[in-house]
């Protein structure tokens, strides 16, 4: 006899709000006059805020036949994902109008991807995790190809889709192998099954393939090669959003799978994750040195940041898990902010993508340049910004383990951060000391929403840097969750 699974719809209220608003926007777009698309933006933002408010206060629980869990990691992960989604909405409208790409589906896709990241944070089952991963990924493929008249954007979408599908196949195959060995896809059952018997070959291979699927989403070396091409070709607001939301989804999932579910087998995967982290930090930072395109530089920078984040996952202690979430929250602000600065600029009908385009920005738009410099300083990890607090948390947790590996990772992290100061500060230097473009080729586009996004992200970066307690006191529940295991 089959008992129907317990369904507790109140548990998924935040996701339902986001997806409901997405449907509403989809429908309303059919009837709304183009000049009234502002309502769609307003509705999306209202939905995100409402969902974040609910998600921050929702009680713990497990439902949907044990496939869905709401706990500390869900709470923090969803709030961060919703913050990134809200910022993703804010940076878009002016750009979309400017290039005549303004269709309501854009916000539907952003909201759906956000819901995908939220579900990844709440997955208690590998199949559920796979579905959530695809819910996150497919809208991102479409967003990358959003500029339909632009061949580079089409190429970016296509590449992202092909390689993403390739990685998804690895992920699914990994699930199949694990199921074959243990007879379950539930993460807690997997934990107990693998704890009882020594892991066989197919289980080991399965875990390896899972790593690859998630590593692709997080753009870890050597699964990162798509990122620079996609970031360069995709429209700027889409890049600003995807660089952050994909990271949030991937790292929340990595925390779910490795420290939380497979914590007992830590000795089997720390080395792999550690080596991946080291490679990612080194390659990301070195490659960023040689870039002349702002977007490509930020693409490699985002790879490098994935490396720092992976140090936290590989460390796998409660403080490290909290530090990963702190890092994601701060990265959502500084990553989106750095791209938002580029959104405000235009060069002869296209995106202002060359680093020279930022020359003398401080003279023309002092506040924009100040914000840009702030984000770059924060990405470089210098105090008194949030980026410093984020890195400090991760590296401190790695050092605290007292192991040689942790120490080595922290050392690599600090040294590559030193390298990163060069390429970040080069742009900030150009902004302040460069000769401004006199031909009038580079134009400024200010819009209230974009300014709001810049203001929010800049304030968040400073606030997190000066009063880190405000962020860490929220994220530390993740560490508490891990230490209860």
């Amino acid at each position: 006899m089959i008992t129907p699974p317990v369904v507790d719809l109140t548990l998924i209220l935040p996701e339902m709000i986001v997806l409901g608003v997405a449907l509403l926007v989809l429908m309303a777009d059919l009837w709304l006059a183009p000049e009234r698309r502002g309502y769609l933006v307003a509705a999306s933002l209202a939905g995100v805020l409402a969902a974040a408010w609910v998600a921050a206060g929702a009680a713990d629980g497990v439902s949907f036949a044990g496939m869905y869990v709401r706990d500390a990691l869900t709470r923090v992960g969803q709030v961060v994902a919703l913050a990134a989604t809200g910022l993703g909405v804010l940076v878009a409208p002016e750009y979309l109008r400017r290039y005549n790409l303004d269709r309501g589906e854009y916000y539907v896709l952003v909201l759906t991807a956000g819901a995908g990241a939220m579900l990844m944070a709440a997955s208690r089952d590998l199949l559920m995790l796979f579905l959530a991963l695809e819910t996150l990924s497919i809208p991102l493929y479409v967003l990358a190809a959003w500029a339909r008249g632009n061949a580079r954007s089409q190429e970016a979408g296509m590449k992202y889709f092909l390689l993403g599908a390739f990685a998804s196949a690895f992920f699914l195959y990994g699930i199949a192998l694990l199921y074959g060995e243990t007879g379950t896809t539930r993460l807690p059952d997997l934990t107990s099954a693998l704890a009882q018997q020594p892991a066989g070959i197919s289980a080991a291979a399965g875990v390896g393939l899972l790593t690859i699927g998630l590593g692709f989403k997080a753009a870890l070396v050597p699964f990162h090669a798509w990122a620079p091409d996609v970031y360069e070709g995709a429209p700027l607001p889409a890049v600003a959003f995807m660089s952050v939301i994909a990271k949030i989804g991937a790292f929340v999932a990595l925390l779910r799978v490795f420290p939380l579910a497979l914590g007992a087998l830590a000795d089997q995967w720390t080395l792999v994750l550690g080596v991946l982290a080291a490679l990612t930090m080194i390659v990301g930072n070195l490659a960023a040195l040689a870039q002349s395109s702002y977007k490509r530089m930020l693409a490699y920078s985002s790879i490098a940041h994935a490396g720092y984040l992976l140090v936290g996952v590989a460390t796998a202690t409660p403080p490290a898990a909290s530090a990963v979430m702190t890092y994601l929250a701060i990265y959502a602000a500084m990553g989106t902010g750095a791209f938002a600065v580029a959104v405000a600029l235009e060069r002869s009908g296209g995106e202002a993508d060359r680093i020279e385009d930022y020359a003398g920005l401080a003279g023309r738009a002092p506040l924009l340049a100040a914000a840009g410099a702030l984000f770059l300083i924060s990405l470089a990890g210098l105090p008194p910004t949030g980026g410093f607090v984020a890195k400090l948390g991760i590296f401190a947790a790695a050092v605290e383990t007292g192991s040689v590996g942790g120490l080595a990772l922290a050392l690599i992290g600090v040294l590559t951060s030193v390298i990163s100061v060069y390429y970040y500060m080069r742009v900030a230097y150009v902004m302040y000391a460069g000769e401004p473009d006199q031909s009038g080729g580079v134009r400024l586009h200010a819009s209230p929403l974009l300014n709001l996004a810049l203001l929010i992200t800049a304030a968040a970066v400073v606030y997190a840097g000066v009063l880190p307690g405000a962020v860490t006191s929220f994220t530390q529940q993740v560490g508490a969750l891990l230490s209860r295991l």
Binding site: M158, K159, L162, L163, F166, A167, F170, I201, A204, A205, V207, G208, L209, T211, I212, G215, F216, P222, F223, A225, W226, P228, D229, Q268, V272, V283, L286, A287, A288, L289, A290, Q291, P319, V389, L392, G393, A396, E400, I419, Y422, L467, P468, G469, T472, S473, Q476
Partner: protein, 636 residues
């Protein structure tokens, strides 16, 4: 007492208004905003005092009869500042007898000096910047004295340093002012480094920086560690409070506007070192060796600075050395296990030294910035109120009864004598007594040369300062006369009683020393003070100023301490700097850095070549990665 943070908020608001909108405000509004901010702060502090007295009375009433009475200390948490690993810093304010006394002195004297500044700075073009700095200073100083955590205290400690630097160099277009600001900054760094090391040591040993926790737990520390921490923190105090050997910055700091000298470099900031010792009294009082060092340094500094003050010609420099000397007295009190007495002297000194500085500023105002005593004279006839203010301040400084300075100084000497009886170390007492004599001589000299005799330069037309400057001086004069009542035996010692539960509760070796015959000691110090005034008057009457021969040269050259520093530290430092900047930096470091840079650029370019743009190659790299990872997992 949730309103206590307001004490800090007012001056912060004043700083914001004057700092952000100052250029758009008229000078009157600017000054009024700044004064109102500090006045509100003082009023709030007074309310806090009332609430505190009430609360501690209630606590005393509820405590059982005969139970040991502990000092009430209210912690007002502000926010969790940062939490990383074991380091959780709760930013909080501590409300107790000591912090309230200091807050009242800082905001009260600060308020009077703010009012005075309206008149003194009336013609300065940057008056809003001046008031913004001054408000920021008040905020920082209040943060320092009310901090419940040593890290918060350190933030205030550094911030007052920054304000001091900005205000010394307020007229930064004058090279001397800019150089003086820099000197103050650099010399203070030396002390601050030691202070910071002390903080690290305490944190490593005790795992906390919370002040009341440290006060209660110092007993857990081994003797050596306790001594090291005490000495490191005291080294920080010598920097801020201008004690030997880090005293050299304070006389130069007189380049700043005179109200700044009165507020920062006499009444408040320089006493931060004394305050620090009192704040962590249990730490210092439980390390006998540290106490000997503190008392000795204090006594030596008191004597040294007083002798130098004998042969200074700049009126403000005389007062600056006098400040150094008086701070030395306060440290003697700390070293003689009488922190409450030290705080008492701190308070009376704030009154009379602020009065002296404001009077000196009034002289500058009257004489168009002439401050060299050799060019003054006879001012008592033309600027009577200013002269009266300076003389009252001078009498208090000289320790003539019944002025405020007499009571506090006498108590310090009494305790120094008791220290001698207990430990056989009579040096602090002897130097203290000698200093009392020299003090009376130099301040009498300053008075005689400035206000009496025949004016040195005809043609000057001194004019009395406006009421907005005279009223604050008048109030300070009243305090300089009556302030002694705070600690006078006859008046019931209200301040000492107030501080006693907090600072008097420490039981230490030697505290139970035989009590010296107080009346005899008091008689001696009164006699010495009168003798000093008389000597000064006889030597310097009719504006005579004998050069004292070789000894005079030695004193005028400040015992060659500054010259020694220049020769042995500053000049070699400059030379090392040039060598580092030239051959070492350009030849070695720069070359190495460039080489490393080129290496990484080449690596970056190489990695760029891997990025071909073909999706199939990217898929291949994913596959290779997959094979390696899965292979490792299977074969491990």
């Amino acid at each position: 007492m949730s309103f206590v943070p307001l004490i800090l908020v007012w001056p912060l608001l004043g700083w914001l208004v004057n700092g952000l909108a100052g250029r758009r405000l008229s000078r009157t509004v600017s000054g009024l905003v700044a004064c109102a901010a500090v006045g509100a702060s003082f009023a709030t502090a007074a309310l806090a005092l009332a609430a505190y007295v009430q609360a501690s009375a209630a606590q005393a009433a509820s405590a059982a009869e005969g139970a040991s009475q502990t000092a009430l200390s209210v912690i007002v948490p502000l926010f969790t500042w940062l939490g990383a690993g074991d380091l959780w810093v709760q930013a909080s304010l501590q409300v107790d007898a000591l912090s309230l006394t200091m807050a009242l002195v800082v905001s009260g004297v600060g308020f009077l000096i703010h009012v005075y500044s309206i008149g003194y700075m009336a013609h300065d073009p940057n008056v809003s910047r001046y008031f913004a700095y001054l408000n920021l200073f008040i905020f920082a100083m209040l943060l320092l004295v009310m901090a419940g955590n040593l890290l918060v205290l350190f933030v205030g400690w550094e911030l007052v340093g920054v304000c001091s630097y900005l205000l010394i160099g307020f007229w930064f277009a004058r090279p001397a002012a800019a150089a003086a600001g820099r000197k103050a900054f650099v010399v203070n760094r030396i002390g601050d480094a030691a202070f910071l090391l002390g903080l690290f040591l305490l944190f490593t040993a005790l795992g906390t920086l919370d002040i009341s926790e440290i006060r209660h737990r110092v007993g857990e520390l081994p003797d050596g560690l306790r001594l090291a921490a005490a000495l490191l923190l005291f080294a920080g105090a010598t920097g801020k409070s201008a004690q030997l050997p880090l005293h050299v910055w304070l006389p130069d700091a007189m380049e700043g506007p005179t109200p700044v000298s009165a507020l920062i470099h006499a009444a408040t900031m320089v006493t931060a070192g004394v305050f620090l010792v009192a704040r962590l009294d249990t730490l210092f009082l439980s390390s006998p060796a540290a106490l000997v060092v503190i008392a000795t340094i204090g006594a030596l500094t008191a004597f040294y600075a007083a002798t130098v003050a004998l042969r200074q010609h700049d009126l403000k420099r005389v007062l600056a050395y006098s400040t150094i000397s008086q701070l030395g007295y306060m440290f003697v009190a700390m070293g003689a296990i009488a922190p409450a007495i030290g705080i008492f002297h701190l308070v009376t000194h704030a009154f009379f030294k602020a009065l002296l500085f404001l009077s000196a500023g009034s002289v500058m105002h009257a004489m168009h910035d002439v401050i060299d005593v050799r060019r003054l004279g006879g001012l008592a006839r033309t600027v009577r109120w200013t002269a009266a203010g300076f003389i009252i301040g001078g009498l208090a400084l000289a320790g003539i009864p019944p002025f405020a300075g007499f009571f506090s100084k006498d108590l310090i000497l009494e305790h120094a004598f008791a220290l001698g009886m207990a430990s056989g170390n009579y040096i602090p007492y002897a130097l203290g007594l000698l200093t009392a004599f020299v003090t009376a001589v130099y301040i009498t000299r300053a008075v005689a040369l400035t206000f009496f005799g025949v004016p040195a330069e005809a043609g000057a037309h001194p004019h009395e300062s406006p009421p907005v400057m005279l009223w604050p001086m008048a109030l300070l004069a009243v305090l300089s006369v009556a302030g002694g009542a705070l600690g006078a035996h006859a008046a019931g010692e209200p301040l000492l009683r107030f501080l006693a539960p907090l600072l008097g509760a420490v039981e230490v070796e030697g505290a139970a020393a035989p009590h010296p015959p107080a009346a005899i000691l008091m008689g001696i110090s009164v006699a010495v003070a009168f003798a000093g005034v008389l000597t000064g008057w006889i030597v310097h009457r009719n504006r005579r100023d004998p050069s004292l021969g070789a000894m005079g040269t030695l004193l005028e050259q400040r015992w060659y301490v500054d010259a020694l520093y220049d020769r042995s530290i500053v000049a070699p430092g400059h030379a090392t700097g040039r060598w580092m900047a030239g051959p070492v930096d350009l030849g070695v470091i720069d070359a190495a850095v460039n080489g490393v840079g080129r290496l990484f650029a080449a690596l970056g370019a190489a990695s760029r070549r891997l990025q071909t743009g073909y999706a199939r190659q990217y898929a291949l790299s994913v596959l290779i990665g997959a094979v390696l990872i899965v292979g490792y997992w299977i074969l491990r």
